[in-house]
Amino acid sequence: MANAALDRTGDVSGQPRPKFRFRPSEETRAGWLVISPWIFGFIVFTMFPFFSSLYFSFTNYDVISSPEWIGLENYDRLLTSDRLFPIALRNTFLYTAMYVPLHLVTALAVALLLNEARKMKGFYRTAFYLPSMTPVIATAYLWIWMLNPNNGLVNRTLRALSLPAPAWTVDPDWTKPTIVISQVWMMGGAMILFLAALQGVPKDLYEAATLDGAGAWRRFRNITLPMISGVSFFLATVSTIAALGVFTQGYVMFDKDGGPQDSALFIVMYLFKRAFGSGYFQMGYASAIAWILFLIILAVTALQFWISKRWVYYEHDARG
């Protein structure tokens, strides 16, 4: 770390620790004082809600009367007799499985192309980044209109090319791809991170590999991919968590009940309906949904961390 290095250079000069540094006790007091806003927020808005939602998940709670302990009943109902919850689970998994790979591959492909460009780089970068500045609601409206089965720009183009034109927003099989497309369109942030990583790959690695006879694919496979694996891992983890929590797109592009034949009903939408939907206010039941989602995300993230040990390459392994 930067300070550590600077401290060491101070030591090299052979001088005693300068008097103008702070005393350790003084530093500890100041440190805790300075981060105290975060500690307060952490306790009140993270720790407390985290554990109370676990508690609520074992209760029957409608906000008006006090919570009534019912043990595992909420979980039992969700996993055995609730008709919609398995649908929401399945939809969320399918959506995540489609979105995350497509999102990463698109962002990386565009970044690779952009990395090769030397002229007008700023122009292209803006063109690819701009969609991700578009507000989610505007994106939702834009894409249900773009993918309108009869008059949307996409189907007009597909028909002009004599290609099959799916009923995107109406056909239950195509509602999730509709959302995926609208989200992949906003891949700008991921693309910029990939681009920064690509620019950080030392050029002489490629030159050396080329001299040794490695073709484009081998250079990509054996140099580029390992050198950007840190960013890839970060983006895979973050976008998976985001995808498992998908809410606004389903709610706005289709409707709050999950669109044609519940095909756009996701876990968080169902949670929201049970917690805040008119006539529900089932805070205990909704908390059980939240905890199942949390355990899923925890498992998936842990799995990703575990797998990452096999493929993520950190230069020097000594940062931070």
Binding site: I35, G41, F50, L193
Partner: protein
């Protein structure tokens, strides 16, 4: 790991031997093909914007017609949006929440990041790990009890729940600002200390001015996030007059569909909603890219 063994010896053996020319020889189709692909992709990514603007200016009876260019550019669609719903009011509400949220998150996150980056205290490492853990905690898990807290405080149907959480710092911004604060030379801190500055003065007069680009990036990220936020207002705001733009427009589809599908109205509203973010992007593009790139996630 296998890769390290494979590539590094090659790198050291050929470094600096002057073969650079060979790789970039222009006598191939490679370069034109790259620009062709980039242009095609740029058209695909920007076409939706063009389509959005065209639709927003079409007269109602041409929405479903096959013509690309409307026979008449109907600018009144934009005026209709403001008559159809209290859009100006929603815009003001959104602006108030966004400004409060941005100011709060800048002050709190930079102060906390300063603590983690530049002050050595017991428990710092463990606490920072905790900060990063909260970044991975999905909001859905804490959503219900957080609502109950604000409900208990009588803050439902006020703007408080939508910005006050920012007073306590936000994990991603703390992380990002810490990365920037770590790069400030210790010499500067030492000389400020000779001049008798305490921790808070060093933070305020030395650190903050030096990380201005990062602060601008955080401000834009947060402004974008609050401008966008749909779920928060959906939970906490029930009176149409209190709506934000996101909530107002997000629920507009239902009312529009009752009137028959007035797509031009929805598209005009979407354009109005999008323009401030585009302006923000073009004004601060430089800081923005810097913020994303230097957010500390390295290849």
């Amino acid at each position: 790991m296998a890769v390290r063994n494979e590539t590094l010896p090659m790198a050291t053996s050929v470094a600096g031997t002057g073969h650079r020319q060979s790789r970039f020889s222009p006598h191939s189709l490679r370069e034109p093909l790259i620009y062709l692909a980039l242009t095609a992709l740029a058209v695909i990514f920007c076409a939706p914007f063009v389509w959005l603007v065209i639709t927003s200016l079409k007269p109602a009876d041409e929405i479903f017609a096959s013509n690309w260019i409307p026979t008449e550019w109907r600018w009144d669609n934009y005026a209709d949006v403001f008559n159809f719903a209290p859009v100006a009011r929603w815009m003001w509400n959104t602006l108030v929440i966004t400004v409060l949220a941005v100011v709060a998150v800048l002050l709190s996150s930079s102060l906390v990041a300063y603590g983690f980056a530049r002050i050595r205290f017991r428990g710092r490492g463990a606490l920072f790990a905790l900060v990063m853990a909260t970044y991975l905690l999905p909001g859905a898990v804490t959503m219900i009890p957080t609502f109950l807290i604000w409900n208990e405080l009588g803050a439902v149907n006020t703007f408080w729940p939508l910005w006050a959480g920012n007073l306590f710092g936000s994990a991603f911004y703390i992380f990002m600002l810490r990365q920037f604060l770590l790069t400030i030379p210790q010499d500067l801190v030492d000389s400020a200390r000779i001049d008798g500055a305490g921790f808070l003065r060093i933070y305020w007069t030395l650190m903050l001015p030096l990380i201005k680009p990062a602060l601008v990036a955080v401000a834009i990220f947060e402004a974008n996030a609050k401008w966008d936020d749909f779920m928060g207002p959906l939970i906490y705001l029930n009176r149409p007059d209190d709506y934000t733009l996101a909530l107002g427009l997000g629920t507009m589809k239902e009312s529009v569909q009752e009137l028959g599908t007035q797509w031009s109205l929805l598209m005009a509203a979407s354009v109005i909603f999008t323009i401030p973010m585009m302006v923000l992007f073009f004004l601060f593009q430089r800081y923005f890219m810097e913020g994303v790139t230097h957010s500390g996630i390295k290849g």
